[in-house]
């Protein structure tokens, strides 16, 4: 399993969830667990570039795949990823618990729809629950992220042509 570009050994425990594996075996605690039944979206990571809920996958199912977590978006010594930057500028987070999941979902959304319409934004983030913001600032952040993102054809390079 490759996580944020680094190869890791196979998970030892066959029944361990990908979310628990990332958090407690690999120490990548930026992926949060809010419900463990696939509704809240806090645990969203990218699997080969597409958003998935890491609480609904076993870690062993991710073997042979590329996993990107929130820690993999921008190196610590580098500027924030455009989606992270947009959340900051638009006050798109309060407690910050749902935030990594939202950011990963929005990265996936913008890969598919680089200039999303308001309806595409709502649908794109409608797999993530936030209890603090009321979503208004998150909607603004998605729009801002689209502005900040490099041209899609030079950008993430994922999901082009998909609808």
């Amino acid at each position: 399993m490759k996580v944020n570009g680094v190869n890791h050994p196979s998970p030892a425990d066959a029944r361990r969830l990908l979310s628990d594996h990332l958090r407690h075996e690999l120490g990548l605690t930026g992926t949060h667990v809010g419900c463990e039944h696939g509704v809240c979206g806090c645990c969203t990571v990218l699997l080969d570039g597409a958003p998935v809920r890491s609480c609904l996958m076993l870690a062993v199912q991710a073997e042979g795949h590329d996993v990107t977590t929130i820690e993999g978006l921008a190196r610590d010594d580098q500027a924030l990823h455009p989606v992270q930057q947009a959340f900051h500028e638009c006050h798109g987070l309060q407690c910050g618990f749902c935030t990594p999941g939202f950011v990963m979902s929005v990265v996936g959304l913008l890969a598919q729809h680089p200039s999303p319409s308001p309806q595409q934004i709502d649908e794109g983030i409608a797999g993530n629950l936030c209890r603090c913001t009321g979503y208004a600032s998150i909607r603004r952040a998605v729009q801002r992220a689209a502005e900040l993102s490099p041209s899609p054809h030079r950008g993430e390079g994922r999901g082009e042509g998909e609808t």
Binding site: H32, A74, C95, F97, E123, A126, G134, Y135, A136
Partner: protein
């Protein structure tokens, strides 16, 4: 005072680490570097049952299980947990024990606690704990509790924990002489705060240092520390409690104690290992306090112009199985029913009754959404009877701006009576109507309106420590933690203004008893008022001290100095000044210099002055600790209005427009405030139409998951238009009022009113749902 930062939309300083995935929530803690033992509760499957026996032997024998605790294994197993806020009217207060051993009184009550090397193993072992229950009759609704066919506690007659009657004026006489009278009944069901991070506790005990360190996703680490010290017989200096990043709170994360808050530290001390427990979502639904269940019987007397002359409200409050939080909730409701209106004769009685459900304690709004629903729906009913416009009826009853301070005359949660300090309620209403604009065309469209007041910033106090470091940077700390309210940003703004530094030069710590050990907690929309003013007080003390020290160096009068741009300088002569960093150096007469300007403060270098290096009453360091204790609550207010459309076949709700006009005194940071309001309204919309705790007759919560307890996604929440007025609070130096709960308070009243008009069916209860609207429409036919 300069106001460079106060009032500015400063972007949050907390964001970077949270956005990079470097937040530190309790389940992320790994302070010892050694993997913590992990735990799982065995919780009651019954809402009411006698425990015949508990057999944990199979669980204890499982490999990798370290310990299984039942009440019999705990030195404090026979103790009732604290009753936090006793009250003379709470004649039959009852609290649960850490682990139940005789009777369980709600499904989800903790019975046993398993500690293992791994959570997966702990969950396996928990399934092996065998408990033999004898089911007992269940009391689940407030109405059933009041009928008292069955008792939740054998020794509490009528299931009544508390009863309280208050009267202002002469209600009977006024009611008798009123031109018109109406009797109304309103019902509000329980709701759940549901922060995205469930609860968690991590603890470690250092035998060498004789020190207990606890990380807790609590809203009140200082109180947890005090309680743990008493329970474990430790000096408070041996207990540190830290609320690290907390993933939302909204009220129920303040409770002394949830069983885990004792069991995790206890296990850590017993086992000599770091121990952690992280709640899962399912148990959060039943183990964490809920709120809002009330049934109100109202009689209102009014004249032909729609003016209320008398109001009588007799309500039952669903307290749940225990009363750990006293009767704060019904006291708040009783105090808030009159809202922004002149009610010359007001009588309110409540009974706080026990039910076989999760205990209740404040959830954002805390007694107010139900109070607002009762008053606003009553005014709508008057308008309907008289054929008057709903806004006009409100206009005729609103307290006027020249009537402050306005005394309602009933009890308030801080022990005072309800006295509104300032506001302009008619202006809120007119502005909201202006923003709302004309009604959209189409069928099944309705308008809703709600005005509210909110007692905020209750005492007793908060404190703050502010220090200028020799680098010129400023550190500040307060005891109350943040659950997303941007404390580190807004308090940096307050401090930066007093010290004349850049906001990015102020680093704020909150909710860590190692940094500040006194305080109360983050609740009741009180952070900005209490801790914000404490920051202001402490920073001002530091500024005064800085001027004293600089005055000696500059040979100037301290009164002629100002703190600007990181310097202390002479007013009118900006070139005559010294850096604040240098003042910090000079504040500490040292023997050894470590560079960075420190040589200026050694015994041979500093400017000589008579007497000892530290004069009597002086202390080294450019720092101060300040406290702020409010004389009483300061009252925020607001008006919400909306247009909704209800789809007549599916009863789907569409919110066409939602406007908020809000007045919380002086605004520290409009970005942060906007987020608080938007989030509050969304939570209100969830509570009004989507979220319902579906308890069955056996006291089982049938929808304890996000699959079936429907927190709104973005697709359910419309854009919210917000305007702010500032009526400064006369009660505190900053002129601020609280804002955390405001957004949620009137939403039920507004949505209910709008749906009533849209569908033409009477709305007297919360929450609603498509199914409920279908049922009401069938009744109408």
């Amino acid at each position: 005072m300069t106001t460079r930062w106060f009032g500015a939309p400063v972007q949050r300083v907390e964001d970077d680490r949270l956005l990079r995935g470097h937040g530190r929530f309790t389940d992320d803690i790994n302070e010892t570097g050694q993997r913590a033992l992990e735990c799982c509760f065995v919780r009651s499957a019954y809402a009411h049952a006698r425990i015949r026996s508990i057999d944990a032997s199979a669980a204890r024998e499982m490999p990798a299980v370290v310990a299984v605790y039942t009440a019999a294994d705990l030195p404090f197993g026979g103790l009732d947990l604290p009753l936090l806020i006793p009250h003379p009217n709470l004649t039959h207060g009852r609290t649960q024990r850490c682990l139940a051993s005789e009777i369980v009184r709600y499904a989800g009550e903790a019975v046993a606690f398993v500690v293992a090397t791994d959570r997966y193993v702990a969950e396996d072992a928990a399934e092996l704990v065998s408990i033999d229950y004898e089911p007992l009759p269940v009391v689940i609704t407030p109405e059933a509790a009041a009928r008292a066919d069955h008792l939740v506690h054998d020794d509490v007659p009528g299931n009544v924990a508390a009863e309280m009657l208050q009267e202002v004026g002469d209600v009977d006489a006024a009611m008798k002489s009123a031109a018109r009278r109406k009797q109304l009944r309103f019902r509000y069901e329980r709701g759940a705060a549901s922060p995205m991070e469930a609860r968690a506790v991590w603890a470690t005990w250092s035998a060498e240092e004789h020190k207990l360190t606890v990380y807790d996703s609590t809203q009140s680490p200082t109180s947890i520390r005090g309680g743990l010290a008493v329970l474990f017989g430790l000096p408070e200096s041996s207990v540190e409690v830290i609320a690290p990043d907390v993933g939302g709170g909204f009220g129920p994360k303040i409770m002394l104690f949830y069983p885990d808050e004792l069991l995790v530290p206890f296990a850590a001390m017993q086992l000599g290992r770091a121990v952690k427990w992280t709640e899962d979502r399912q148990e959060h639904f039943t183990a964490v306090n809920q709120e809002r269940g009330q049934v109100h019987e109202v009689e209102v007397g009014f004249d032909d112009d729609g003016r209320v002359v008398a109001l009588s409200d007799d309500f039952v409050h669903d307290g749940g199985a225990y009363t750990p939080y006293g009767i704060i909730l019904p006291i708040i409701t009783a105090g808030q029913v009159p809202g922004p209106y002149r009610i010359p004769n007001y009588r309110v009685r409540f009974r706080d009754v026990y039910t076989n459900a999760t205990p209740t304690s404040p959830y954002r709004g805390a007694g107010r959404p139900h109070a607002c629903f009762v008053m606003e729906r009553t005014l709508d009913s008057i308008a309907s009877e008289l054929g008057l416009d709903r806004a006009e009826v409100r206009r005729r009853n609103l307290i006027q701006p020249d009537q402050f301070p306005y005394e309602v005359g009933v009890a308030w949660q801080d022990g005072n009576t309800v006295v509104y300090d300032s506001g302009d309620y008619p202006r809120l209403l007119e502005r909201a109507l202006e923003m709302l604009g004309p009604k959209p065309a189409g069928d099944n469209v309705g308008m809703g309106l709600g005005i509210y007041v909110e007692g905020t910033g209750v005492g007793p106090y908060e404190g703050a420590h502010v220090q200028v470091l020799v680098s010129g940077k400023v550190v500040a700390a307060t005891g109350i933690p943040s659950q997303g309210q941007a404390h580190a940003t807004v308090w940096a703004q307050v401090v930066a203004d007093e010290l004349g530094v850049d906001v990015s030069d102020v680093e704020v710590s909150s909710g860590d008893t190692r940094r500040f050990s006194w305080g109360v907690g983050t609740f009741a929309s009180r952070g900005a008022v209490t801790a914000g003013n404490a920051m202001h007080v402490a920073a001002r003390m530091v500024a005064t001290r800085a001027k004293q020290i600089a005055a000696e160096q500059l040979e100037a009068n301290p009164d002629d100095l100002e703190l600007v741009g990181g310097r202390v300088r002479v007013k009118g002569s900006p070139d005559r000044g010294i850096p604040l960093a240098a003042v910090a150096v000079l504040s500490n007469p040292v023997r050894y210099a470590f560079g960075g300007g420190t040589e200026a403060a050694t015994q041979f270098a500093s400017k000589p002055r008579p007497g000892p290096p530290l004069h009597e009453g002086e202390q080294p360091g450019l720092e101060a600790t300040g406290y702020y204790s409010p004389p009483g609550s300061t009252w925020a207010s607001g008006c919400h209005a909306a247009y909704v459309r209800v789809e007549p076949k599916t009863f789907r709700l569409e919110i066409l427009k939602y406007v908020v006009v809000h007045d919380c005194g002086r605004v520290i940071n409009p970005l942060v405030l906007q987020g608080q309001i938007e989030g509050g309204v969304a939570q209100g919309i969830g509570g009004a139409f989507y979220e319902r705790l579906a308890y069955d007759a056996d006291g089982q919560l049938r929808n304890a998951s996000f699959m079936e307890f429907l927190i709104p996604y973005a697709t359910e929440i419309p854009p919210i238009e917000i305007d702010h007025f500032e009526t400064p609070s006369p009660l505190n130096p900053l002129g601020v009022k609280g804002a955390g709960e405001a957004g949620v308070i009137p939403v039920g009243a507004v949505i209910g009113s709008a749906i009533e008009e849209a569908l033409g069916v009477p709305i007297t209860e919360m929450p609603l749902s498509p199914l409920k609207l279908y049922e009401l429409s069938m009744l109408k036919k």
